[in-house]
Symmetry: C2
Subunit: 269 residues, 2 copies
């Protein structure tokens, strides 16, 4: 970041990558909206406090919907001037200014202006949490999907295998989805049970809008025995949103990580 | 429960065992207090609704402190008259009447009047959750202990071994503890790390007041390198509360289960 005396100008913008945790419950989603408070607004306003009130813009790896949580969201922030701060200072200052909103910076790293939280990302990791029991939720209301009918995870895993690989995922895509192509490559879709909690992990380079929640809502039909596992493959091939199951609620969905090569967060700070 | 015509009277009291989950944050603790709302009050008032407003009393296996959570607390409820309900109806009705408080009945089973949630219990299982990172908590504020200094779990496990077995636990007992004897047998104290989360599991027939939190607060001193592991054995042998470490906050503590032989909850309902 230092310039040869009198030759190169200071960069106009200082870019920082941040790794973020948030509770999605109080927010309208990642993206700024006039209807309510967004994670983006909380983050950008805190960053503005480090930039003497000048606006700081952010770009994120995954624009999560209202009520969706993150344990490993990634964004970059463009400060209009040098901050003169270390990574741990940026992390702590942003955390201070974001209180009391349930958003936390886990790591902040300076990055080159060519690095982009969205376009440099080559993998997204999601986890969906289901609590499978009759009793209502006391500890995790709004943070898991409570499914009262017993789910067969072997059948759900058999169904999940029909979705792995490169496909046209039109049947699992929100009608509002703005992606140009419905083609995506799903690398992992695994269903695990630990006692009464069922976890579904999904990894891909990128996902369509609502894709994870639509896959989960469909796998739930298989788990409760309403659908045979093969029907998930048929729904995929139909390329029609009406052929797949309902959208699972946002409550259980967590963006757990974003992959980069190289990973700006691999250096401890 | 049916009586031979005209011979045996109906039992005066109908006892139910319930397995309970709660978020300890809004409560003054398990036990009724004039200072605020307790889990016991929420439970007993809901039960009173099933008894036509007549008072229902409860006894619990573990009187958790303010801010302590449970995923597997057990209590029994004495109804002054027959409810005429099945286990799933009792569970669902109690859950309905406890809304919107974060208390949930997971299971309800009719038990004999000789069965007692406290005195029939032969094991208590606790889990303590630590998040070991620099960034503040967004998702689990009030539900874990945030420790910012890096913890060495191998050293913590070495220290924990000094506490296993039958000992005078005076050094790890709250001054307000009302137990007659400070002797307890600690059967398990294990420290595990999954990424940035550290879990400490403790099992014993019973614990003294604050014993788990005092053990955790002491193990944390070892984990951060302030104490050598051997010092925990010395603190134990001192039989003096001042010789051990501070009390860990209630936020990270969960009563995860209670053992009975036979277990009234082993039958699915």
């Amino acid at each position: 970041m230092t310039a040869d005396a009198g030759t190169a100008p200071e960069p106009a913008v200082e870019r920082w990558a941040v790794r973020i945790e948030y509770d999605g419950r109080p927010f309208v989603g990642w993206q700024r909206q006039i209807t309510g408070l967004s994670v983006q607004q909380v983050l950008e306003e805190a960053a503005g406090r480090l930039a003497a009130g000048r606006p700081v813009t952010s770009i994120t790896a995954g624009r999560t919907d209202a009520g969706v949580h993150a344990t490993g969201q990634v964004a970059h922030l463009d400060f209009p001037m040098g901050t003169g701060l270390t990574g741990s200072k940026v992390r702590d200052a942003l955390n201070f200014h974001m209180k009391p909103h349930p958003v936390a910076i886990l790591q902040a790293m300076p990055v080159d202006s060519a690095w982009n939280a969205r376009f440099s990302a080559n993998r997204r990791f999601y986890r969906y949490r289901i609590v499978n029991r009759r009793g209502r939720l006391a500890l995790d209301d709004g943070r898991v999907w409570l499914v009262k009918r017993a789910l067969d995870i072997d059948a759900m895993n058999e169904a999940a295998r029909h979705l792995l690989g490169r496909h046209d995922f039109t049947s699992f895509r929100a009608s509002a989805c703005q992606a140009k192509s419905p083609l995506r490559t799903l690398d992992r879709l695994a269903v695990m049970r630990h006692g009464e909690e069922i976890t579904i992990e999904a990894d891909a380079r990128s996902f369509l809008h609502h894709q994870v929640r639509n896959m989960v809502g469909t796998l739930k039909l298989v788990g409760e025995g309403t659908w045979a596992p093969e029907r998930v493959g048929e729904a995929l091939r139909a390329c029609d949103r009406r052929a797949a199951g309902p959208t699972a609620p946002p409550d259980g969905l967590y963006l757990t990580g974003v992959g980069y090569d190289p990973d700006p967060f691999s250096v401890a700070c």
